[in-house]
């Protein structure tokens, strides 16, 4: 089409000052994640444990109706909705594994794709801070993780109150909502840093996906091997899963599985987040947008 036929009108609108300049990045990340193959089924599956636990809350309030399912008095113990119930959900192997799988599908390409396809130059030639870019990417991962942690946690409390018809649960454990919020934020923040760290290490999304999965799994495998040989619980610090479980046990005031101070696990998780911050600072540099 010749130039003469092409129109170009100047834009007479006004720019807006966004309170959250990172929000368009997050929105795009979420949208692109849902476009990925297998993501929708995985997302649905990742909600299944929450549904299962919600059913547990309902059954605990109607224990007599479901007594036939259990022998003796085990039903009461099994379906008791207490801090241990919350700790079990939040540190449940399956839930953590599904969170990792969500990160693999929704988070692997967050930075690696930008590095591979040179889109960092486009981002940073806009009025966008490095901080906004990070926040946008982290919020994408956080969105999915909070749906699997914070939302079910709060729903558990709400449904417990609705099914029991009283606030007794909240008066008995008034700190539970705070624990739910605190642990959800902790695990989300950690996994967001973890995802961005690994995503920034390679330009190849497949390598990043594999690495996200393997680091998580092998940290646990190594713990298993060393624990099996030396019977030293301190090796649990090697395992990301165990670290999260140890901290979870502390937050929900439950006896931790391994006799290791929870603070060490916090330190391990903080160290990983710090490394992530350092690597991201080195890798994401606006000044290099013009090659």
């Amino acid at each position: 089409m010749p130039i003469a036929e092409r129109g170009y009108a100047h834009w007479d609108g006004a720019f807006v000052e966004r309170r959250f300049p990172w929000w368009p990045i997050t929105r795009l990340g979420i949208r692109l994640a849902f476009k990925r193959k297998f993501f929708k089924p995985l997302f649905a599956i990742s909600l299944a444990p929450a549904v299962f636990f919600l059913a547990g809350i309902y059954m605990s309030e109607r224990i007599e109706d479901f007594q036939f399912m259990f022998r003796g008095r085990n039903g009461n113990r099994l379906l008791g909705v207490d801090p241990a119930f919350f700790k079990t959900y939040f540190t449940f192997d399956t839930v953590l594994f599904l969170m990792v799988m969500l990160m693999v599908l929704a988070g692997a390409g967050l930075i690696s794709d930008d590095l591979k396809f040179n889109s960092l130059q486009l981002y940073f030639s806009r009025p966008l801070r490095k901080r906004d870019y990070w926040l946008g990417k982290m919020a994408t991962v956080s969105f999915f993780l909070l749906i699997v942690t914070l939302v079910p946690g709060l729903l558990f409390i709400l449904f417990k109150i609705i099914f029991s018809g009283s606030f007794k649960f909240l008066t008995t454990y008034p700190w539970i909502p705070l624990s739910v919020v605190g642990y959800s934020l902790l695990v989300t923040l950690f996994f967001a840093f973890y995802t961005l760290l690994i995503s920034s290490l390679s330009k190849n999304r497949r390598y990043v996906s594999i690495l996200l999965f393997l680091v998580y799994v092998f940290s646990d495998v190594f713990f298993g091997i060393f624990y099996g040989i030396f019977h030293e619980p301190a090796f649990c610090l090697l395992s990301i899963k165990c670290d999260l479980q140890q901290v979870g046990a502390f937050i929900f005031r439950v006896r931790p599985q391994y006799d290791v101070p929870w603070i060490y696990s916090v330190l391990v998780l903080t160290a990983i987040c710090s490394v992530s911050g350092f690597v991201l600072k080195r890798k994401i540099r606006g000044v290099e947008v013009i090659q």
Partner: protein, 308 residues
């Protein structure tokens, strides 16, 4: 043009990467229209663009883009300029409309308006029909147009184009150059083109800035520069030319000899062409052919930077 009309002004800009001096006292004043930024590798073009976009703070000197201070108002500068990078840039999984609107939104446009504007701009750059196709399926020429679209979406007042025709076939190159010319001449957008392809600059730009070793070697209107900087003469001679050539070089001329024994003499503006004949007479050289050649940007570049 007065100083107030200048969109880009730099005064005594100096920048160092450690011990390496990238820019050494650069003074620039660019008004409206298209300007070509030329220079050999390492001349400081990229550093200059980085400073203009506010990614680097100069060690010394001051400057402004559209009246915004390059030291303080980087965000305002980036909101008002468009940047088209050199390499391929895209986000996989997106179509052109979403992509263009996304970057409009990141520039500060309201979402709805960014989307509407994305359609308009994509039609303008010639991607209207394929605006819903996935970007991964785009050809090199289409990706180049897409980069131009994202640079134009927020209606910048200044456009920085980095090697806009790299990796393009002749047809695609012509189309992009036509677009650039249209933008700079008819759309009231100042364009700064950084390119190694001198003919592209010559086609699109009325002004040129030549950087060499971190300094501005030449700047101004292209036609005037070609006249002012030097005169180019082509001649054929008979006889021993060594003394003749030495004599010309001593007078400040640069001489090139082509394979078909044609001599190209770049003569400084302060010298008269009679000096050529005088030197030839002194050295007993016969001039068999003499013509004042039309100077191209290539000649200007070669003369200014001192490379063939």
């Amino acid at each position: 043009m007065t100083t107030g009309d200048m969109n880009i002004e730099l005064k005594d800009i100096r920048f160092h990467y450690g011990k390496i001096t990238a820019l050494d006292g650069v003074d620039l004043a660019l008004g409206e229209g298209a300007c070509g930024l030329l220079g050999p590798n390492g001349a400081g073009k990229s550093t200059l663009l980085r400073i203009l976009l506010g990614f680097l703070i100069p060690a010394q000197g001051e400057g402004s883009v559209l009246g915004y201070d390059i030291r303080k108002d980087q965000f305002l500068i980036r909101r008002s300029v468009g940047y088209m990078p050199e390499g391929d840039c895209l986000i996989p999984g997106m179509d052109a409309v979403t992509f263009t609107a996304y970057f409009g939104e990141l520039s500060g446009m309201p979402r709805q308006e960014a989307m509407k504007r994305a359609h308009d701009v994509l039609f303008y750059v010639g991607l209207g029909e394929s605006r819903y196709r996935l970007l991964e399926t785009y050809s090199a020429g289409m990706k180049q147009r897409l980069k131009l679209a994202q640079a134009l979406v927020h209606d910048p007042k200044v456009l920085f184009l980095d090697e806009p025709t790299s990796n393009l076939d002749p047809q695609g190159r012509t189309e992009i150059l036509d677009l650039i010319k249209d933008i700079s001449l008819k759309k009231d957008i100042q364009v700064l083109v950084s390119s190694h392809i001198l003919t592209d600059i010559e086609f699109t730009c009325s002004h040129v800035v030549i950087l060499n070793k971190g300094k501005v070697a030449a700047q101004g209107e292209l036609e005037a520069l070609k006249e002012i900087q030097f005169s180019l003469y082509e001649l054929r001679t008979k006889g021993e030319t060594a003394g003749f050539l030495k004599g010309l070089k001593d007078k400040g001329c640069r001489v090139e000899e082509t394979e078909d024994e044609l001599m190209k003499i770049y003569m400084p503006a302060n010298l008269s062409r009679t000096e050529i004949f005088r030197t030839a007479a002194l050295e007993n050289v016969q001039i068999r052919y003499f013509i004042k050649s039309r100077t191209s940007l290539e000649d200007l570049f070669a003369e200014t930077v001192g490379v063939d």
